[in-house]
């Protein structure tokens, strides 16, 4: 007895006006940012490395409106954001994963309310190989068997050489060299949760301190494989198309699949702030957030290689705080 039903349900229709071509365009309905007077002070952001460049670009943009604002950005991994927000060393905590319960608890213990997380942009977590690598497609089961020792997705055997993935010739007996992120990274956690289904990394995954070092390492290591945000893609590496299931359709990490939900590893990039519910946010932070959720702010997202959010999401996020 077998049934196979395909249901396509139109749940909600949001008035989105993004033209989906291969190049990404920003939602036309997003508000244009208009600077106000009298914003100055210091901003410090501690958190995600995936969003390091993004935060820097936003900061530059912000500085172009408000030259008196001094901005410092540190990106060692998403897990450093809660620690910095709790201790008060940072006003912004960019994170490439949502905060986990324990982190929210720790924050709430100190401040009495929960931190506010805002979805700022969309990333496709890509699996990178060296540009010379002939591999065409990987299923998530295979990625799980390459990186994880628990293989919770149920791939039959451990994958250690490129030959195990069906490559021939000089590749067939070459060991796969694994690169990953350090455990502070949100990308590390996201990969673990969504690819390994919370299984465990192999001990032989070389933990790199940043996304760019993962890409750099894969560029230099012909037999390497690694993962990081799509914003870090360079000419030296190739983002492997991914299939949700073995034998399924291979979806390349391209703009056209960023929004449709076809690509199995897309995610939101967040910025967390310490915002006391009901109170007015100071203009220094308020204007920064307003910039992020404006046309200019989202153009920066495109510039950095990530994908912008729609006006609808921006509206939802802006309604979460008062400024």
């Amino acid at each position: 007895m077998q049934k196979f039903i395909v249901l396509t349900a139109l749940m909600l229709t949001m008035g989105a006006n993004v033209v989906m071509a291969d190049s990404v365009r920003v939602d036309k309905n997003l508000p244009t940012y208009k600077p106000i007077k009298g914003v100055s002070g210091n901003i410090k952001s501690v958190g995600s490395d995936t969003m390091n460049n993004l935060m820097t670009l936003w900061a530059e943009k912000y500085n172009s409106y408000y030259p008196n604002v001094k901005i410092e950005i540190e990106g060692k991994g998403s897990s450093t954001a809660p620690a910095a927000l709790i201790s008060g060393t940072a006003q912004f905590g960019p994170m490439s994963r949502p905060m986990k319960g324990k982190e929210i608890d720790d924050f709430e213990k100190k401040y009495g309310y929960k931190p506010l997380g805002l979805r700022t942009s969309i990333d496709m977590l890509a699996v990178y190989v060296n540009k010379d690598n002939p591999i065409q497609c990987l299923s998530l089961e295979e990625v799980d068997a390459i990186f994880s020792k628990t293989r919770k997705r149920g791939f039959g055997k451990d994958i250690t050489t490129w030959g195990d993935l069906g490559l021939t010739g000089e590749w067939s007996n070459k060991a796969i060299s694994l690169y990953g992120r350090n455990s502070a990274s949100g990308t590390y956690g996201f990969f673990k949760e969504h690819v390994f289904k919370n299984g465990d990394y192999k001990d032989s995954v070389k933990e790199q301190p940043g996304s760019s070092s993962v890409v750099q390492a894969v560029t230099n290591d012909r037999y390497g494989i690694g993962y990081s945000g799509i914003g870090y893609k360079t000419a030296g590496v190739k983002a492997v198309p991914l299939a949700e299931k073995k034998g399924g359709k291979c979806i390349p990490a391209e703009a056209s699949h960023a929004y449709t939900g076809d690509y199995p590893l897309s995610r939101f990039l967040y910025v967390y702030i310490n915002y006391k519910p009901g109170e007015k946010l100071d203009p220094l932070r308020g204007q920064f957030l307003k910039l992020i959720f404006s046309k200019q702010g989202q153009e920066v997202v495109v510039k950095d290689g990530y994908y912008p959010i729609t006006n609808n999401i921006a509206k939802q996020e802006l309604s979460k705080f008062r400024f």
Partner: protein, 843 residues
């Protein structure tokens, strides 16, 4: 002498004495302070938390608790009684509302991750009831309550007035029908994730359904694309003696577990939906009955409570015979405090601990990984549920008509000496292991805090760096102090000391990004050069003696240039070519593939590793047995003839070294010992090649350590009284004989402390290992694999650790361990040095 001078001297003496004493005491004090600070930060890890009784409240109405959930603050809760859900104000004891569910419910299961219930009905529907707790915060509108904290019930909601705020606690229960099957649902369970949900249901026609729902949400249009796949397997034959009592589906949706109260268990492998397999049908509990069963957070571990008062934990482990097969295995066993049946188990929502309540009213909180008993007590009334809030700081015991609450505070439940230093069998693994994996992005992660891989990494990097640095540094020191022209001595020394001024981050950068990709392509050639460069130096040294005596004497002034111009290029040439030949003959044309392919003979690897042994053996045999014979040959020969014989001797001994090495390597290979996988204790010394590995770190860290060892040992050598040298030289000893037999023993204590200082530097070195070692916390003696040291680990992970958290304190523990390690090394160094110094002062 004049008096004022005497007084002045006295004053200066006194001042000097006290300043030095203060300085000394200050230093000791500072070190102690560091030690105590580390200790003070680490100590709370091992302290038991405090858990206190808070209050007991009689409910204003009777309920029939079957299952329940408490909100995160522990002030409201829902109790499911089989037919309806009661919303309770735990702060005041009132029942706020009763929400009736479907009349036809036949079974339910609780999904702790989503805080939802999944129900099956008699007419085949599967319903999910999502329970969400909300706290709405407003400014208080109640006059005169500004300073008074209290809970009241307003309009069926619990309201808290606190610090001038009015918090309203709301509970939303939304039910939705997920799908409908044709028959009565006997058992149902499900997991719900963003993109994928899996449901397992047993219906009364004996079928087991597995339904996968894949959801793709289009962010632009909000369109939801759902794909439902429903597969089933007929289990009628298995259910002859009745339907099972529990069914569970694991977190990956591909393992289904079915239990009967009498201890029978059926395991269904659902990795391939088109080929559902029953892999096990066995009795897992003998003479005991299952009385309660649930998943631990993360849905990997099943907790089974039985009628004899035990809770056992189970998960799928790899079958040793068939690696693709998994067996349901018992791992831990917890005793609940009395032999009464286990009534309820509540898994914590924050970590791997769980609360158990047994029939005698004894309730306990255990942590699975550390096997710690966090709290145990007894409740007088007959409770039927034990619940905890999401934040893990309150415990509730709930009976039909009353409940009691406890505040629970155990900050570091996952720490015990065993989890830090012992083998621990972590979830889903088949055997106990030492693992460091400190954090991740989700709450259901099981932190693995074994310091052993880090201590191992520290020792490994230090040993390899020292193996490289000690011979070079000490030989260089002997060379500059004994052989080199005094004119150049100081400039050579200061040049080498400049090496020490290179920041280690620069060295790390070079090692990680430039040297390691280069070395990767030429590993074997590099190893070849390691052997052939010293060989060609010796060879050249021998050959040069053949030259006429005058020419030889003239040339020996330029020996350093000779080495640079001839021996070094020759050594590299020989090394590279030898490596090429060896790769062809011994390593099946591909050294790196040879490293990971155990079907290839290990002969070549043994050959490399055993060469030093072969050399030592040959020299020993020659010295012991053939030296006299050799002297006889030399007897009466002319200078030139003797020189030629010397060269021949050198070549013959080289040949013998190779032969001996080969023989030993051959014998070991024949015995069947492979240096890539089955060495005792250390398992392997060669294995899969990783770009950033111990060899690279060894080289570069050796480079960082060499100047220190060199300078200190050179000073020690130079401090040897000149009259000893002169005496030795005057009796006809050569410079080399003098250096080795006279100077070296006298300077031994200094050289030893030089080595130890180098050792201390290598143990604590951070930046080089951080950048060049790959930071993989593995225990593997393979010189071609990476490692993670204590210091690099602290540098990598401290920024992410929240102050006061377990992770934070364990990083401090790592620092303490490092401190103790260097302390031990330095103490040994000091003891040995003092002993040697006593000896040499007798000279």
């Amino acid at each position: 002498m004049d008096k004022s001078y005497k007084i002045k001297k006295k004053i200066i003496d006194k001042v000097a004495k006290y300043t030095i004493s203060i300085g000394g005491i200050g230093t000791i004090f500072a070190v102690l302070l560091v030690f105590f600070f580390l200790f003070y930060t680490v100590l709370p890890l091992f302290q038991k938390g405090d858990t206190k009784f808070q209050n007991k409240i009689v409910l204003k109405d009777k309920i029939n608790p079957v299952h329940g959930i408490v909100d995160e603050y522990g002030v409201t809760g829902v109790i499911f009684d089989g037919k309806m859900i009661d919303v309770i104000s735990l702060a005041t004891g009132e029942i706020l509302s009763k929400i009736p569910l479907d009349e036809t419910l036949s079974t339910f299961n609780y999904n702790s991750k989503n805080r939802s219930y999944i129900f099956g009905t008699t007419d085949g529907r599967i319903i999910e009831a999502d329970i969400s707790f909300k706290r709405e915060e407003m400014e208080s509108d109640l006059e005169g309550t500004k300073n008074e904290d209290k809970f009241v019930v307003e309009n069926d909601y619990l309201v808290e007035y606190k610090n001038g705020k009015k918090n309203t606690y709301k509970i939303d229960i939304t039910t939705k029908e997920l799908l409908k099957l044709n028959n009565r649902i006997i058992l149902v369970d499900g997991i719900f994730q963003d993109r994928e949900s899996s449901i397992v249901a047993i219906t009364d026609d004996g079928l087991l359904h597995i339904i996968h729902i894949q959801i793709k949400e289009n962010i632009l249009t909000g369109e939801n694309n759902k794909e439902i796949e429903d597969k089933s397997i007929d289990l009628k034959d298995y259910f002859k003696s009745g339907y099972p009592d529990y069914s569970k589906i694991n977190s990956s949706g591909n393992g289904i577990f079915i239990f009967f109260k009498d201890g029978r268990f059926i395991n269904i492998d659902a990795r391939n939906l088109d080929d559902l397999k029953i892999t096990e049908d066995k009795k897992i509990l003998e003479n005991r009955k299952i009385t309660y069963l649930d998943f631990l957070i993360g849905r990997n571990t099943i907790l089974i409570g039985d009628d004899k008062g035990y809770v056992t934990t189970w998960w799928l482990t790899e079958d040793k015979l068939n690696k693709n097969n998994y067996i349901f295995t018992n791992i831990h066993k917890f005793y609940t405090g009395s032999d009464s049946d286990v009534k309820f188990i509540y898994p914590s929502q924050r970590d791997k601990s769980f609360a158990v309540l047994n029939g005698d009213g004894i309730f306990s909180i255990f942590h699975m990984t550390s096997e710690n008993l966090l709290f145990q007590s007894r409740e007088e009334f007959k409770a039927s549920l034990i619940l905890m809030n999401q934040k893990n700081d309150k415990i509730f015991l709930i009976s039909e008509d009353r409940y009691s609450s406890y505040s629970f505070n155990v900050p570091h439940p996952e720490v015990s000496l065993k989890t830090l230093f012992g083998r621990v069998q972590y979830e889903l693994t088949s055997k106990g292991e030492y693992v460091w994996q400190s954090s991740s992005g989700s709450d259901d992660f099981e932190p693995k805090f074994s310091l052993i891989p880090l201590i191992f990494g520290t020792i490994k990097s230090t040993i390899i760096a020292m193996l490289f640095a000690i011979p070079i540094a000490i030989l260089a020191a002997i060379y500059t102090s004994e052989f080199v022209n005094k004119k150049y001595r100081n400039s050579i020394k200061s040049t080498i000391e400049i090496m020490a001024s290179l920041p280690s981050v620069v060295l790390g950068f070079l090692a990680g990004l430039i040297i390691s990709p280069l070395v990767e392509n030429v590993v074997l050639s590099l190893i070849g050069c390691l052997f052939m460069v010293p060989f060609s130096m010796l060879l050249l040294g021998n050959i040069i003696q053949i030259l006429p005596k005058d020419l030889f004497n003239y040339l020996s002034r330029y020996r350093i240039f000779m080495i640079l111009i001839f021996a070094l290029p020759l050594g590299i040439f020989l090394g590279v070519n030898l490596a090429r030949i060896a790769e062809k003959i011994l390593f099946y044309n591909d050294f790196k593939y040879w490293l990971q392919n155990y079907e290839y003979s290990p002969l070549g690897g043994w050959f490399i590793v055993l060469t030093p042994l072969g050399l030592i053996l040959t020299i020993y045999v020659y010295r012991r047995f053939l030296y006299g014979f050799y002297e006889n040959i030399l007897e009466g020969r002319s200078y030139n003839a003797a020189a030629v014989i010397e060269v021949i001797k050198f070549l013959v001994l080289t040949f013998f070294t190779i032969l001996t090495t080969f023989l030993i390597a051959y014998i070991i290979t024949k015995i069947g010992l492979d240096l890539r996988r089955d060495l005792p204790f250390i398992e392997r010394i060669m294995g899969t090649y990783v770009q950033r590995n111990a060899l690279i770190v060894g080289f570069v860290m050796g480079f960082a350590v060499i100047p220190i060892i060199y300078t200190v040992s050179e000073d020690a050598l130079r401090a040897v009284p000149e009259h000893l040298r002169s005496a030795s030289l005057a009796t006809g000893a050569t410079i080399w004989q003098t250096a080795v037999n006279i100077v070296l023993p006298v300077a031994a204590s200094g050289i030893f402390s030089a080595i130890m200082i180098g050792f201390g530097r290598a143990i604590g070195e951070t930046m080089i290992v951080l950048m060049a070692a790959g930071n993989t916390p593995i225990i593997d003696m393979n010189i071609f694999s990476g490692f993670r040291t204590l210091s690099a680990n602290i540098a990598v992970e401290l920024p992410e650790a929240v102050i006061g958290s377990t992770h934070y304190r364990i990083l401090y523990l790592a620092a303490l361990v490092l401190f103790i390690m260097t302390f031990i090394v330095n103490t040994i160094a000091e003891l040995v040095r003092i002993r040697y110094r006593k000896k040499s002062s007798q000279l």
